[in-house]
């Protein structure tokens, strides 16, 4: 009887609460072009604990008791809008936000990323958003999102000036890079000096540092998810930039006003023109271009269709002697259907094709190398908001892979190794808000990777010699690897401005890359998992704390965060002792697989208000490997191990005309191998090594400066000048250190430091026409 009374009481209480509950919903879009503004925050002044973030499609929904409210809509880079509304049962309130940035659209390391870290259940996420990156110093005057990411804790530049990045001890090849959902293999131009991404067309950039929702997978270090803007569906618009080494132009406009749009953006370097003026390099070609195109159609209130295309190509050549060309072509089709406000289906198909070709002709003897990595995928993801507590994602992705790890001609010899695979991924993910303070994100991803014929597969002895070969027919199953990848992340808000998080993830990777040099190059060799090479797997645990401070005039005036992590990897590969990337066509024969571990601490402190804004980040990290057959089977420091990284970024905006910026980086010495002795055989000096990576290179530090002068806003035209100075004090930072013979020294040996860049000034003119 008592239980019955309790039930009645609870029912009455519940129905009373329901009777008083009302819904406020609406959209948030950019006033300029009508594009949705995901990530904008909706808060209610009268209910300080109530607030939501705008969804990917620009919609929001919030449950409030009936009453009159003052609703505030905020997004960095846009004017804050405040509206009053009387909510009875249901009310609709839309916001059109005006850009508060006079700049011409680029990328900014957002000032609200840390506050998002307080709110967001998923941990170890870094966001970059469209804003005003041109305030930041840039190399060659080219804004680069990956170089901006490298200023964040836990993200390391692979080498001086490189757009390759390493996350929490991982190699750059262990990062999954997505452009509008499609995989990008090799996200760099000119050996990594520029990233593939034209910053003028980017909308949102999110980096998951190993802890990722189950919708993502395929790499074990991180996922970089980059989305591009839709064209302006209100009016024609042209944006561009003229730089010393590269220029770019973006054109966009409506197909049907308010409903569909087109966008074309191109970028090209003309370094060749400068080289032609030099005696030494007048016969050298060196250029890249890339092209982004997008069509978007709002088919109905519930259907959105996007068609995206990307093509980027690099070309380096020395007259008739040698040439190298590489590039990616990506096409994708995305259809988004909203069944009702809480149920959305995202359907994607994409094809991503990467090709590298290099050749050298010495005295009529032609040597050439080709490599191809093609992926065709179909992906479905259903997002279901089940009430206020749960957000589920269910989905699958089916992919066909065609990888030619090498197709080479060497003198009269032709060898080729081509592999095919069919990969299927299934996932379910639930973001569960247990209480106002506690939310958890749980999920699992199942990966089934099937290696297909045709082609030979081998059995090897311990030294890498082929014991037997099995030839499989086309489409025949060679081997299937199945991995279940559980994910978990929890966020407990200690107060409105503080949270602690813990996370665990298990991830796997079936595409393996072997660097051909000290940094990622287009000539790197890659292969899929084979009958001998197992999928690389990683288990990562992490914990973090984030806090934001308000002052009298600003919310989140200061923000700080701290993360610690430990990651263990299995089946990661490294070269056998004494072999190189091109020693054997069969990649299984030149590598050995083993385990790795990395752990570290990441700290960040930001100032978000006033004329001077910026942040300081610090990363402490340790990365080690152990592979049987290498380094006498002992643990050794990984080649990408670097103990300390410090980044300091400051932006000074004294008035509407000028922005000034400075960034300073400090990296402690990169691990490297130095000999402990030497000997001579056949008049050649050999160096003797005791342990791999037993030494530290000299430390690295660099100051970059930038200044932007905004031009006057005309009716249809606005221009601005951007000035930059890379490596302002011209330090010779180590790019490579080698020990070699030198007949002019007493010892016969010398160590040489090669620095890629001294100081590099740049000037760029950017314009906008509409």
């Amino acid at each position: 009887m008592f239980k019955f009374k309790v039930l009645i009481f609870v029912s009455i209480l519940f129905s009373t609460a329901l009777a008083n509950a009302a819904k406020l919903r609406g959209t948030v879009v950019a006033a300029e072009d009508g594009s949705p503004l995901p990530g904008a925050s909706i808060t209610i002044k009268e209910l300080p604990n109530q607030g939501v973030e705008v969804e990917e499609d620009g919609t929001y929904k919030i449950e409030v008791p009936s009453g009159k409210y003052t609703v505030v809509c905020e997004l960095v880079g846009f004017t804050t809008l405040t509206k009053s509304v009387n909510v009875k049962q249901e009310a609709k309130l839309n916001f059109k936000l005006e850009s508060d940035v006079e700049d011409l659209g680029a990328v900014e390391v957002t000032s609200r990323s840390l506050h998002k870290a307080v709110e967001q259940t998923q941990m170890s996420v870094a966001h970059l958003e469209v804003g005003d990156v041109k305030k930041m110093p840039s190399m060659f005057g080219e804004q680069d999102i990956i170089k901006s990411l490298q200023l964040m804790p836990g993200v390391k530049a692979e080498s001086d000036g490189s757009s390759g990045f390493q996350v929490r001890g991982g190699e750059s090849s262990q990062n999954l890079v997505l452009l509008d959902g499609a995989t990008v293999n090799n996200a760099g131009h000119l050996m990594g000096l520029f990233s593939t991404f034209n910053s003028d067309v980017l909308r949102d950039v999110t980096l998951y540092k190993g802890q990722m929702p189950a919708q993502y997978g395929g790499r074990i270090a991180s996922v970089l998810d980059v989305s591009t803007i839709n064209g302006n569906n209100q009016s024609f618009q042209a944006d561009g930039a003229l730089g010393l080494l590269a220029s770019k132009l973006t054109l966009q406009g409506p197909i049907q006003k308010g409903k569909s749009s087109w966008l074309v953006a191109g970028r090209r370097t003309y370094i060749d023109l400068f080289l032609k003026a030099t005696e030494d390099f007048k016969d050298t070609k060196l250029n890249f271009y890339d092209l982004n195109a997008k069509l978007d159609f709002k088919l109905s209130q519930k259907d959105q269709l996007d068609v995206s295309f990307f093509n980027g190509q690099d070309h380096m050549a020395v007259n008739d002697l040698m040439a190298i060309k590489w590039g990616s072509t990506i096409g994708s089709l995305k259809w988004r259907h909203a069944f009702h406000s809480g149920l959305n289906l995202n359907s994607d198909v994409f094809v991503s094709h990467y090709k590298i070709r290099e050749w050298i002709d010495i005295d009529g003897s032609m040597n050439s190398f080709d490599g191809i990595n093609t992926q065709a995928s179909w992906r479905e993801n259903l997002t279901w908001k089940a009430g206020d507590k749960h957000t589920f994602d269910f989905g699958f992705q089916s992919s066909y892979h065609d990888v030619i790890t090498a197709d080479w001609y060497y003198n009269d010899i032709h060898e080729c190794e081509e592999r095919y695979a069919w990969e299927n991924n299934f996932w379910v993910n639930d973001e569960w808000k247990l209480t106002k303070r506690l939310s958890v994100l749980t999920g699992v991803r199942v990966t089934a990777f099937s290696l297909l014929g045709s082609g030979p597969y081998y059995q090897l002895d311990d030294e890498g010699n082929i014991l037997s070969t099995t030839n499989y027919g086309k489409g025949e199953f060679v081997k299937t690897y199945v991995n279940a990848e559980p994910r978990f992340s929890a966020n407990y808000k200690l107060t409105n401005n503080q949270s602690v998080k813990v996370a665990y993830s298990h991830t796997c990777q079936n595409l393996h890359t072997l660097k051909s040099g000290i940094t990622s190059m287009p000539t790197d060799r890659f292969t899929m998992s084979t009958n001998l090479l197992k999928p690389e797997v990683a288990d990562q645990v992490s914990a973090g704390y984030a806090i934001s401070f308000d002052n009298e005039a600003h919310n989140n005036a200061y923000e700080a965060s701290a993360d610690v992590y430990y990651k263990h990897t299995d089946n990661t590969i490294d070269y056998r002792d004494g072999v190189g990337a091109f020693d054997k066509i069969e990649i299984d024969r030149i590598v050995l697989a083993g385990q790795g571990r990395s752990y570290g601490l990441e700290l960040e402190l930001k100032k978000n208000f006033g004329k001077v804004t910026g942040w300081v980040s610090y990363t402490l990290s340790f990365t080690e490997s152990q592979i049987d057959g290498i380094n006498r089977n002992r643990w050794y420091t990984a080649s990408n191990d670097r103990r300390h990284d410090i980044n300091i970024v400051a932006i000074y905006s004294p008035n509407k005309k000028w922005d000034f910026s400075a960034s300073w980086k400090f990296y402690s010495g990169q691990a490297m191998s130095l000999p402990v002795g030497k000997y001579q055989i056949e008049n050649q000096t050999y160096y003797y090594y005791d342990n791999r990576n037993n030494y530290r290179a000299p430390s690295y530090h660099r100051l970059d400066l930038g200044a932007t002068r905004h031009g006057k806003q005309h009716k249809h035209w606005q221009g601005e000048w951007a000035f930059g100075l890379y490596n302002a004090y011209g330090r010779y930072n180590p790019f490579m250190i080698s020990v070699s013979e030198d007949q002019y020294t007493n010892s016969g040996s010398k160590a040489t430091l090669i620095a890629m860049y001294s100081f590099l000034p740049s000037v760029t003119y950017r314009f906008k026409f509409k």
Partner: protein, 284 residues
């Protein structure tokens, strides 16, 4: 392929105004005594050279260590303890290697002891040696030496090419059997030298008081040797690190703290003399 990437790296570096400076580094020393072994059995004789590891900041010691027990045995019944003299251990009976025989080396010196095996292949005779200048990167010439030889198409051979200029080894190069069955096979060797036939003044031949090795002069003599070796010897020389990349070559020595190789090989040799500039003009 290695050459291609080397050129690419140079090109990319040069294009972006790379800078270079010499570093003074504090090198560690090897934790234990390491013995460097060069064991040779060929149709020209049998000898073994032993040396100690040198510090990186010192000049390399090549004087040859005495005081070791060194013996060689063959699968044909040959067995001999080598004797020390002139910095090397040699066969007191002037024995030579025989193709097809598997030889075993044993070395013991203090705490260092090692064994190794090697089977002597049949020789690959040199047919001729020729040269050519190639224009690369604008006005820089590369001197290419072409070694033509008669490869045995029925066997898996590995070759070491050694080029001496004026009695000093300037190139040492190895290559696997590539299955070529042409009547004449050849291998070109890039000596990375400049064409300076006209430069005969003494000061132009020297740099810091030492003979320049990056310039070839008329009258320079070249000795070319072609060794046919087994796979293990090839692996040692092909995995050798001349530029500090961080790995030790793969050795066929089994034992305590020994580096180097033991190789039974067949060798053939040729010589040539570079023409003077005037002679070369007449030849054109």
């Amino acid at each position: 392929m290695k050459k291609l990437n080397y050129i690419l790296a140079i090109m990319a570096g040069a294009l972006f105004a790379s800078c270079e400076k010499t570093l003074e580094l504090d090198y560690d020393k090897a934790g234990e005594e390491v013995l460097v072994v060069q064991g040779n059995v060929s149709n020209e004789g049998i000898y073994v050279i032993l040396n100690a590891l040198s510090n990186v900041t010192d000049s390399v010691s090549t004087c040859g260590l005495a005081g070791a027990e060194v013996s060689v045995a063959g699968s044909d019944g040959y067995e001999e303890t080598l004797v020390y003299g002139d910095g090397r251990y040699y066969s007191p009976t002037n024995a030579v290697g025989v193709p097809g025989v598997t030889y075993t080396l044993h070395v013991k010196r203090g705490a260092n002891e090692c064994y190794a095996k090697s089977t002597m292949p049949n020789p690959t005779p040199i047919d001729s040696v020729r040269y050519k200048w190639l224009k690369m990167f604008g006005d820089v010439d590369i001197f290419m030496l072409y070694i033509y030889f008669n490869d045995n198409p029925d066997t898996e051979d590995y070759h070491l090419y050694s080029v001496e200029r004026n009695g000093k080894t300037v190139r040492f190069y190895c290559a696997p059997d590539e299955g070529l069955s042409d009547v004449y096979n050849y291998r070109y060797i890039d000596l990375n030298t400049k064409l300076e036939w006209k430069e005969d003044e003494r000061e132009k031949k020297e740099f810091h008081g030492m003979e320049r090795t990056d310039v070839i002069y008329g009258g320079n003599s070249f000795n070319v040797s072609l060794r046919t070796v087994d796979k293990n010897t090839y692996r040692f020389f092909s995995s050798g690190d001349f530029n500090g990349s961080g790995v030790n070559p793969t050795s066929n020595l089994v034992g305590n703290n020994c580096v180097g190789y033991f190789s039974a090989y067949s060798v053939d040799k040729r010589s040539m003399v570079m023409p003077t500039y005037d002679e070369a003009l007449k030849m054109k």
